[in-house]
Symmetry: C2
């Protein structure tokens, strides 16, 4: 089997583990209004690459060969995907990006109405902390679980993802510098990916050096991922992407290709990925290779 085929099998296997876990994040014993549950699950179980939760599991497996590593890390994997999902629901709202479709399906508020979409987002966000807290029932210490919750509330919060979203909203076409654009992406996208890596590390008992390497890897991969997204929006194949291309232009979004050109953008993706991988190799990890494979794969993706 080629490396690429083996990696795809691994990613598919991990994706299924995540999908199954996401189906159980709402306890059947809890009195949750049916329509709310439906609205949350509509977006949470809508598929996707599940890149963030897979990073949680892969980081955990990079630290340790212990057989229960996945089981310990799964609550954090689910939590990060719930945060990602809530942010998409709120971003799509008419007051924000006003999108009717996501991944080829109607957006949450187009199906359930604006009020329910706001509450479904609030519910997913709040419940992600409950799901994360359950790691302490799977062998992760209370101290480590608390550290993850602290990091989640920071990296998904006002100095992190929420702040990045605000900066993005306040930025205007033609008035955003490269530095500002990088700052927006670092917070809007990279912070949550850096969180995913660190959370996986915490679940597996990573030391400070490893956690820092994960954070650097996450930041660089997150930024590379965002630039690659910008590139694919310009050069990609609509059927592979599952969404219309050149939408950034139509929406007058400032992108990397817009600011520095396609060639320079591609160079940055390569260099960021290289930097990401190098940080892992110096952290004394038991198995850094899988994460490096994933980073390289993201670099060459066409969707």
């Amino acid at each position: 089997m080629t490396t690429s085929a083996e990696l795809h099998m691994y990613l598919e296997e991990q994706r299924l583990i995540v999908e199954n876990a996401l189906r159980t994040v709402f306890s059947a014993d809890w009195p949750i209004p049916g329509k709310l549950l439906e609205a949350m699950n509509y977006s949470l179980l809508a598929g996707g690459k599940r890149m963030r939760p897979i990073f949680v599991l892969a980081a955990s497996a990079a630290v340790t060969n212990a057989g229960d590593a996945t089981n310990r890390a799964l609550p954090f994997a689910c939590a990060v995907e719930m945060i990602h999902t809530y942010s998409l629901i709120h971003d799509d709202l008419p007051a924000m990006d006003n999108d009717d479709y996501r991944r080829g399906r109607l957006t949450n508020h187009k199906v359930f109405g604006e009020a329910m979409a706001i509450l479904a987002g609030d519910g997913l966000l709040t419940h992600s902390f409950h799901v994360a807290s359950q790691a302490a029932r799977r062998g992760v210490s209370a101290e480590r679980t608390l550290a993850v919750i602290e990091e989640l509330s920071r990296l998904a919060g006002v100095p992190g993802m929420v702040g990045g979203q605000v900066d993005d909203m306040l930025g205007e076409q033609g008035q955003t510098s490269l530095e500002q654009l990088e700052n927006i992406h670092l917070h809007k996208t990279s912070d949550l990916i850096a969180f995913a890596l660190r959370a996986g590390g915490h679940a597996a008992g990573a030391d400070v050096r490893q956690l820092n390497a994960f954070e650097l890897f996450g930041r660089n991969v997150g930024l590379a991922f965002q630039i690659q997204d910008d590139i694919l929006d310009l050069t990609g194949d609509e059927t592979k992407l599952g969404k219309p291309v050149r939408s950034d232009e139509r929406q007058e979004k400032v992108t990397y290709p817009y600011l520095i050109g396609l060639d320079e953008s591609r160079k940055r993706v390569v260099n960021l990925t290289k930097a990401a991988n190098e940080s892992l190799l110096q952290a004394g990890l038991a198995n850094p290779n899988r994460l490096i494979q994933i980073a390289d794969y993201l670099l060459t993706r066409d969707h």
Copy 2:
């Protein structure tokens, strides 16, 4: 000094402690977009009775005479007020209750726009978990802090406050039974008050019997508070309330007086308060009296 004057002094003193703490929940070192910070603080520092955080501090002081009780409980007090504030910002949105004024000031989205109001709410909600997690740096054990976070995500979340909000939204005039109305209020209002009491208990090392008594007290006081709100909307003095009366009628809201009449509603407030106070007296608390005073005060409030 009369009991009433002494209680008012206590409430004012506690309110000031809470106000001061709320001013420091966002670290000056953090890169938070200025406009976002402004929007969050606009609502967070808008005054109000601060009933929920005062319940946190009072529950803590009911358990223990330790001098650092307030200091240990303050992170939870701030967290519950942040959750309450985010819920008001999102409730006021055009897609929800569409309110232009709250406490005599323009609502958040009227000042900062809808998109910023959604993000300010998301930011306050996310950051409340960070603030709660800081209790572990003030002498509360990691296990207790984690228990509080778990309870916050449940009681403010999908089977709690968010679920109550959904039920309220889906309920229709004339089609809501007394049982349904009670269920809505129990989740929409009481759950967060029950959380406040339990969180204060956790901060002070309360045992399971005390935590359960706090929860019962919180649920009953929360329900009594909501019924009293319904009564004041019908019978209150606009200048004391700081908002127009009879707004429930105009908005065709189902209320306790609407379903069971004013007299029966008043009787319920008295009985719920009595039940709340009784649960405290049997829990072996060091100082149950202050909480009982507060419950009695809420019973007779005119605003």
